[in-house]
Every structure is written in structure tokens, then in C-alpha cells.
């Protein structure tokens, strides 16, 4: 199954609680702060609790940047390990999630470069697998993101990267240029092309859904 055979809703999901959830997830509460501090000091129990919270975020970001769930799984482990090992060096002088995200991006891009096979595969049946194997109800937001990431899977990697860094992580063009080591103008060009390509894919999906 490919995305083109799937009716792709062009109406983005707008759950009334999504913004609240987003704000809540971005806010570091006291417990979270204690976990971060404790984990940085080597407290294992607090580090485990911290990773209970962090793991979904890491998995989601890796999946945004990676074609297919299988390779995302492998890279998630590497990224989580890099974060765990780097925690003692986290000094709290920047947003914790920003620090985590940068490590995840770095590890993911590195691992992806090391394995050409990673870029070549895409799991076309991901949504079905998610529904059947995990046995969890998929909410609308999740389903929308799955469809979106399946479209991302069909973008050229360099376009996908700038799209994810800009729209998923809210990074500026300058920050993306720094992260990827490319000129800012190249970032802008890739962003433009990525949106053109994404729009074409969405249209293609809608046409496929109608037929």
C-alpha cells in the first residue's frame, strides 16, 4: 500500500486540546526538572524515569527524519544512548528539549549517512501495522501524523531534513544551516522545493483517494 492509494485528508487535525498538550509537554515541571538534574548527576532511578518521558519524543523525531519504522527503531536506541551518555555534560544553560533534539538530529543524520540502505526503504503498511500489532486506538492526530510522515518518506532526504528541522523543530534557517553545515540560501531553496513536492504528493494522494 502506498499513500497514493489512501484518501489523504487535506484538513489538518485540530484537536482543541493539542495546543494545551503541546504547551504542557514543552513545559518542564518540577518533577521533570528533578529527573533531569538527578539523571545528570548519575541517579539511575531518576534517569530511568526521565527516559520514560523522553523516549516517545526521541522516537517521534527519529521517525520524522527516517524512512520506515524498522530503521527508526535502531536509530532511536543510538540516539537515546547518546543522550544518556551526554547527560552529565548538560549544564542547563538552554532548553532541555532543544538539547535533546539536537543530539537526536545529529545521531540520526550520522547513522543515516552510514547506512545507505536506510534511505532506500519505506514501510508502506505502517498505519496498518500500528493498528494491528500494537492494539492501541489510533487517535486522529496520530493518524494524521502517520499519513504526513509517509509523505515525508517520499521526499528526497535533503528536502525532508530541512522540512523537519524547520516545521517540526521550529528551527530558523540560520540554525538549520549550522546544523547541516550548508549555506542559508541552500536551506531556503530546499525548503521551497520540499513544500512544492509535498503539495504535489498531497494532491496525488487526494486524487488516488477519489479514484
Amino acid at each position: 500500500m502506498t499513500v497514493t492509494n489512501q484518501a489523504f485528508s487535506i484538513t489538518p487535525y485540530r484537536a482543541p486540546t493539542s495546543d494545551v498538550a503541546r504547551v504542557a509537554s514543552a513545559t518542564i515541571d518540577a518533577d521533570y526538572e528533578a529527573q533531569i538534574r538527578g539523571a545528570a548527576l548519575g541517579d539511575r532511578a531518576l534517569a530511568e524515569a526521565l527516559f520514560h518521558r523522553l523516549l516517545p519524543r526521541i522516537r517521534n523525531l527519529v521517525r520524522y527524519l527516517t524512512n520506515g519504522d524498522h530503521e527508526a527503531q535502531d536509530i532511536t536506541q543510538e540516539a537515546a544512548l547518546a543522550i544518556l551518555q551526554g547527560l552529565p555534560g548538560y549544564r542547563g544553560d538552554g532548553p532541555f528539549h532543544g538539547w535533546v533534539d539536537r543530539i537526536v538530529v545529529r545521531v540520526t543524520l550520522l547513522r543515516r549517512r552510514r547506512s545507505r540502505t536506510l534511505a532506500a526503504r519505506s514501510d508502506a503498511t505502517d498505519v496498518e501495522e500500528a493498528q494491528s500489532t500494537v492494539g492501541l486506538e489510533l487517535d486522529e492526530r496520530y493518524a494524521a501524523r502517520r499519513r504526513l510522515v509517509l509523505l515525508f518518506d517520499r521526499l528526497p532526504l535533503e528536502q525532508r531534513d530541512v522540512l523537519v528541522l524547520h516545521h517540526v523543530l521550529d528551527m530558523t534557517v540560520g540554525e538549520i544551516a549550522d546544523q547541516l553545515g550548508i549555506p542559508g540560501e541552500t536551506v531556503r531553496t530546499r525548503l521551497r522545493r520540499a513544500k512544492v513536492r509535498l503539495r504535489a504528493l498531497v494532491d496525488e494522494g487526494r486524487e488516488g483517494g477519489r479514484s
Binding site: S25, A80, R111
Partner: protein, 307 residues
């Protein structure tokens, strides 16, 4: 009609990263716990390796070769000295007694051989550990296997209490390993297998015990049995990379070159982007050039390209 810019922007707006909500496949609580357990097991293995071997960066191959020769000499001297003071040397291969040679770890890239403090517990009595063959063989996925050992197997189906007990035991083992009580830690990991073989903790315990047997207890045969169990139980599990690499290294230590070659090929094929893949390829090339046959287990430890 083409999708409007505003709709496309809104789609992307909904993609903003948060802690839940995808797009990764959902992970239930038990799976998340297993992932985290595996993560800490990997980290512990790294710490363990580094506690033995303070690294100053990768050595070049030529440096390995030069150091390998020196260390081999030191190792032989050490073994000679040890043999004169103990009658238990039969259980250990000579080079493994060398306090100057770093124990290898699957996570360690290339160890820098340094002198180990005198307190380093290298002289573990492997014979005092429980016999591995008494552990139940893997003939089916771990979750479906019943354990058969002297300890009472858990009731089926497993309960939350059993899971918690297994977790506690695994934590105890991790703590013992952190305290460098290798023998006791190995025993405790293996207790997890004996008592809670069907729990989610059994798999990381298996790989951790294997790593300790290989790297700390100079028991590649015991390590191999555990790695094989882990690979049979979960061929694509979260620790399959470590298990397969460890298996290749155990074969190497046992001098089973053909098996090592097969394991390395499997490792490269299954984990082409692993941190160890380049080392595995290099070692495989050596073996295929026939050089692997010339290097014994002794200099393996000193200049292993696969570590």
C-alpha cells in the same frame, strides 16, 4: 484543485514535535520499559568497559600491532607468574589472566591497553558460577518458554509481582556490576533467567551475563551459550546487535574461525550501520586473507580490530 498554502502550512503545523502523538509507532508501557532496560544495559556495558580502560582515543592500527607485541610479552610473563602461585589456571586461558590487557566489550571500539590496578578483579573463579548448560535451552520464543531449572519456575501467566521481582533482581545485578563484582553480578543476571525466564527482564539479563562472561570472567564458551540463547529467543531484539557481535568475538576467543567468519557476515548483513560494522568488515577481510588463522587469542585482545 490543488491544496491551498494555508492547508499545507496547517498540516505542517500539526507535525510539531511533542512527547506523544506520533508519528513513531505507539509503544505500550511494557515495551517502553524493555527499551529503557536495554538502553541502560548498553550504557552499563560501556561504562564497565571504560572503567577498565580509560580511553585516549582510537589507536592506529600500526600502534595496535606494536603494542600488541609488547603486551603479549607482558601477558606471558604475568601468566607465568600466576601459574607459579595458583593451581587454578586450568580454567583460564593464559592471556585472559593478563592484567595488562583490556577486557573487550562489544560497545568498545578499540581499547587502549593500559596497566590495570592491582585491585582489578580479574581472577574470578568461573567454576564457582552456576553451570550454564543447566539453564533451559532456547527452543522457542522466550515469552513462550517454560523455564526448567533447580529454582521454581514462575507460574503461568506471569504476574505483575513477578515482573517487579525480576526488575528488582536485574537492578541488583546492575548494581553489582557497577560495583565491579563481576562474578556475583553474573550469578545474579543468571538468576533472573532461572527464576523469571519469561519476564521482559530475561533478555537484557541474558546479554549482560554473556558480556560479563566474555569480558570479565574469561569464559567465552559460557558467553557463547548465552549469546546464542539471546539470539534464538529474539533474533531481531533490541540487543541483537550486541549479541551477534559478542557471538563473533566469543567464537574468536575460542579459535572457531569458520564460525567467527559466519557470525561476522551475519552481523554485517543485519547491522550494516552499526558502530562495529567497519571493524567487523576489517576482521572479516583479515580472516579471508588467512591472517586470522595466524593470530591467536592472545594478540586478539591486544589489537582486536573488532573491539
Amino acid at each position: 484543485m490543488s491544496i491551498r498554502d494555508a492547508d499545507l502550512d496547517a498540516l505542517l503545523e500539526d507535525a510539531k514535535l511533542d512527547d506523544e502523538g506520533g508519528p513513531a509507532l505507539p509503544l505500550d508501557e511494557a515495551a517502553r520499559s524493555r527499551e529503557i532496560e536495554a538502553l541502560f544495559a548498553r550504557r552499563d556495558a560501556l561504562l564497565e568497559a571504560r572503567s577498565l580502560v580509560p580511553r585516549e582515543g582510537r589507536l592506529r592500527r600500526s600502534q595496535h600491532v606494536a603494542l600488541g607485541g609488547l603486551l603479549l610479552g607482558a601477558a606471558l610473563l604475568t601468566v607465568f607468574a600466576r601459574q607459579s602461585t595458583t593451581s587454578q589456571s586450568g580454567a583460564r586461558r593464559s592471556v585472559e589472566g593478563s592484567p595488562t590487557v583490556a577486557a573487550a566489550d562489544p560497545h568498545q571500539e578499540r581499547p587502549t591497553p593500559v596497566a590495570t590496578p592491582a585491585s582489578e578483579p580479574r581472577s574470578v573463579d568461573v567454576a564457582s558460577l552456576p553451570s550454564l548448560p543447566s539453564l533451559p535451552p532456547v527452543t522457542a520464543p522466550l515469552a513462550e518458554r517454560a523455564t526448567a531449572s533447580s529454582s521454581p519456575p514462575p507460574a503461568s501467566p506471569r504476574t505483575n509481582a513477578e515482573e517487579e521481582e525480576a526488575e528488582d533482581l536485574l537492578r541488583t545485578a546492575n548494581r553489582l556490576r557497577a560495583d565491579k563484582q563481576w562474578s556475583e553480578a553474573t550469578r545474579t543476571y543468571e538468576k533472573v533467567l532461572e527464576r523469571y525466564g519469561r519476564s521482559g527482564q530475561a533478555y537484557p539479563a541474558m546479554v549482560s551475563a554473556a558480556s560479563l562472561r566474555l569480558n570479565r570472567l574469561s569464559d567465552p564458551a559460557g558467553a557463547l551459550r548465552l549469546y546464542e540463547r539471546a539470539l534464538a529467543a529474539r533474533p531481531t531484539g533490541t540487543l541483537a546487535e550486541e549479541a551477534l557481535f559478542g557471538q563473533a568475538r566469543a567464537y574468536r576467543d575460542l579459535g572457531r574461525t569458520d564460525d567467527e567468519r559466519s557470525a561476522l557476515r551475519r552481523f554485517i548483513s543485519n547491522h550494516p550501520s552499526s558502530w562495529h560494522a567497519d571493524d567487523a568488515r576489517q576482521r572479516l577481510q583479515e580472516l579471508e586473507r588467512g591472517r586470522g588463522h595466524e593470530t591467536g587469542a592472545a594478540d586478539n585482545r591486544a589489537e582486536s580490530p573488532t573491539r
